[in-house]
């Protein structure tokens, strides 16, 4: 089960995130769970697999905003980096980002 404590150990900026959530822990955890149950990551992965970089940018941009707001730093950092590359349409292998992101999501899911 995801807890604030668990998220902190995961490396999340729970203090900042909780302030953004008006210090409502239940509300915060509910939002984090939405990330895990949502389809945003699947969309990103699919876009990268299909080499559809516009769609990949949109998806990573969206994920970046959400993860930033929720203080999910271990997810936010690779996604932010990836988003900037996608924005500049840099030719590179994005699957390594996907792998890193998948590992972090997995860690969250295992809580």
């Amino acid at each position: 089960m995801i807890t604030v404590e668990g998220l902190r150990n995961f490396g999340a900026d729970t203090d900042g995130a909780l302030r953004r959530c008006m210090n409502n822990e239940e509300f915060y955890l509910k939002q984090v769970n939405k990330v895990l149950t949502g389809t945003s990551f699947d969309k990103l992965k699919e876009a990268v697999d299909n080499a559809d970089f516009d769609a990949a940018f949109e998806a990573s941009h969206a994920l970046k905003g959400v993860c930033g707001n929720l203080g999910l730093t271990p997810l936010y950092e690779p996604i932010a980096e990836m988003t900037e590359h996608l924005r500049k349409k840099t030719e590179r292998d994005y699957s390594s980002y996907i792998d890193v992101i998948a590992i972090q999501l997995d860690a969250l899911n295992k809580m």
Partner: protein, 568 residues
């Protein structure tokens, strides 16, 4: 004095536009205590919501990257479309280049992602809303120095803002006046008057400050307030009155309040306060009523009456007023016999069509204008009697109404005599109907007038006998020539034995006095037969004919002539 504004109570409406549910929820969570928050998932949906009727947004928080319609496109529309051009927009972004582009397109501020601390977001929202609201208020506007209430222009602008921001709130427009305020100034000096104005304004503002509302002093002793609806103003009024009576002991100086509750926001602000002021002024000098509520139907009725009063001269000049005649038949013979007629006025109004006498006679009776109508009818009837004499060689005496106000007119007799002379008529041709209520006013005066008229040969009919202030005593004092039984007697005569007996009694009384009875409102053969048996002399009613225009009346005369029973 409290600042009588509407901040704190009022929740402005904010639209959050973001395709990410989590972002929307987080912003909503931050804003919900201060604002009413609506959400849109994309630019297209937001655009529709911004154009929805009855919803006014004080701020749009806009994400840039969205499906369907992105933030840039929506921003462009918001700024170019009139309805939304004055709604501030805060863009939510994390990229500098996007900030530059959106500011060029008219964004007012930014919120970065990840979001700033809630306090920062709230402060930015508040600042930008305030900025926009101040901008739309006329710069030169100011408060009334004496009372610290708004001047009219300022007041109207604030009302528009309240309407926009609280579209679902019911509002009342109230107008307060200090009646005979000038007496305070005259007797105690202007300074005293000013103190009272300040005091009243201060108290009102304090009392009404617990809701949305705003006040203005448009005129010396008038106060206008636009406030959140309340059911009762008794308490407000009582407190103010008590305070005022503590300051001023001058009788007649008092407060009156006109209230237009739950204003219709589709009408102009001016109209709303016209309604409240109308209510306020309606009780001027009416010391039984201090608070009056505007009522649309009553107001319309008053306006209608005013219109009729204004139109009366034109109606006479243009012949919109016409005289109809209802025949009276003698029934104490084998076959009913046309004896006379009653003149009844009708109004074919160019705007309202046929107006029932019930709508305008009581109105004109109450303000004395009935005299104009009466004079008109007398003259028309006299012309008509003359015409029938000339055309058919017979006389149809016509009864005309003589109102209370005519009776006390010293020119009454001269006027009637002149009409007779102008048409070469005999006094008995024009019969005069007076109502019994005239007797209640001034029995002695009435008796003198009646006797004098009879001395000139006029026949006096007592109209509507039994309808109101009937006094049997009156019948012995006033030497009437004909008794017209009120139509209610006839209408009820077959309802029960008692009502039937009443009709018999009236006829007996008339018989005792030696005057004929006219039964009005007779509608069927059965009534005619019974009245005949009771000894009733004359009958008027739909059984024979409704009141008709003179040309239609001609046929009754022709019928009589054919029967070989010319009425001479």
């Amino acid at each position: 004095m409290n600042e009588f504004g509407y901040s704190g109570i009022l929740k402005r409406r904010v639209l959050v536009v973001d395709d990410e549910e989590i972002n929307r929820d987080m912003l909503g969570n931050i804003l919900k205590d201060q604002y009413e928050v609506d959400f849109a998932e994309n630019g297209k949906q937001a655009h529709e919501m911004l154009h929805a009727r009855m919803t006014r947004y004080s701020l749009v928080l806009l994400d840039l990257l969205m499906p369907e319609m992105d933030g840039f496109e929506l921003l462009g529309l918001i700024r170019t479309e009139e309805v939304t051009s004055n709604i501030p927009v805060i863009v939510m972004t994390s990229e500098k280049p996007a900030e530059v582009r959106s500011i060029k397109q008219g964004a007012d501020d930014f919120i970065t992602k990840p979001y700033d601390m809630p306090e920062v977001i709230l402060a930015r929202c508040e600042r930008i809303i305030q900025l926009y609201e101040d901008k739309s208020i006329i710069r030169s506007a100011e408060k009334d120095e004496l009372t610290d209430l708004y001047t009219r222009e300022f007041f109207h602008e604030y009302i528009r803002q309240i309407d926009r921001n609280c579209s679902d709130l019911s509002m009342d427009a109230i107008v307060l006046n200090i009646e005979h305020f000038h007496m305070l100034n005259e007797m105690f000096g202007r300074q005293m008057g000013d103190n009272v104005l300040r005091k009243v304004a201060g108290m009102l503002s304090d009392m009404l400050a617990d809701g949305v509302g705003i006040g203005c002093r448009p005129d010396s002793d008038y106060f206008y307030y636009y406030i959140e609806h309340r059911d009762s103003y008794d308490e407000v009024f009582a407190t103010l009155s008590k305070e005022l009576s503590g300051i001023s002991k001058i009788p007649g100086v008092r407060i009156r309040l006109g209230v237009y509750q739950n204003v219709d926001k589709d009408i102009s602000i001016e109209d709303r306060f016209d309604h409240a002021k109308y209510a306020c002024d309606r009780i001027r000098g009416d010391y039984n009523r201090q608070i009056f509520f505007y009522n649309r139907e009553e107001n319309e009725k008053d306006l209608y009456h005013e219109q009729l009063i204004n139109d009366i001269d034109a109606a006479i000049a243009n012949k919109d007023l016409v005289v109809f005649y209802q025949p009276k038949y003698g029934i104490q013979c084998d076959e009913p016999e046309l004896r006379s007629a009653e003149a009844l006025i009708r109004w074919r109004h160019p705007k309202y069509g046929m107006i029932s006498p019930g709508d305008f006679i009581p109105l004109f009776e109450s303000n004395g204008l009935i005299q104009k109508l009466d004079h008109f009818v007398w003259e028309e009837a006299a012309l008509q009697i003359r015409k029938w004499k000339d055309e058919f060689g017979c006389t149809i005496p016509v009864s005309v109404n003589v109102s209370r106000v005519d009776i006390y007119d010293s020119e009454l007799e001269n006027r009637l005599l002149k009409i007779l002379k102008d048409n070469s008529l005999d006094a008995k041709d024009l019969m005069l109907e007076i109502t019994e209520s005239a007797y209640a006013d001034d029995a002695r005066g009435l008796t003198a007038v009646v006797e004098s008229l009879q001395g000139r040969g006029f026949k006096i009919e007592m109209d509507d006998f039994g309808s109101g202030y009937s006094s049997l005593n009156m019948l012995t004092e006033i030497p009437i020539d004909v008794l017209k039984m009120d139509m209610k007697f006839i209408r009820n005569m077959n309802k029960d034995a008692k009502s039937h007996k009443l009709v018999e009694l009236v006829i007996e009384i008339a018989d005792y006095l030696g005057v004929p009875v006219v039964a009005e409102g007779v509608e069927d053969k059965n009534q005619v037969d019974q009245l005949k048996d009771m000894g009733c002399e004359l009958i008027q009613g739909y059984y024979f004919s409704k009141p008709v225009p003179p040309e239609e009346f001609d046929k009754f005369i022709r019928a009589e002539i054919e029967k070989g029973k010319n009425t001479k």
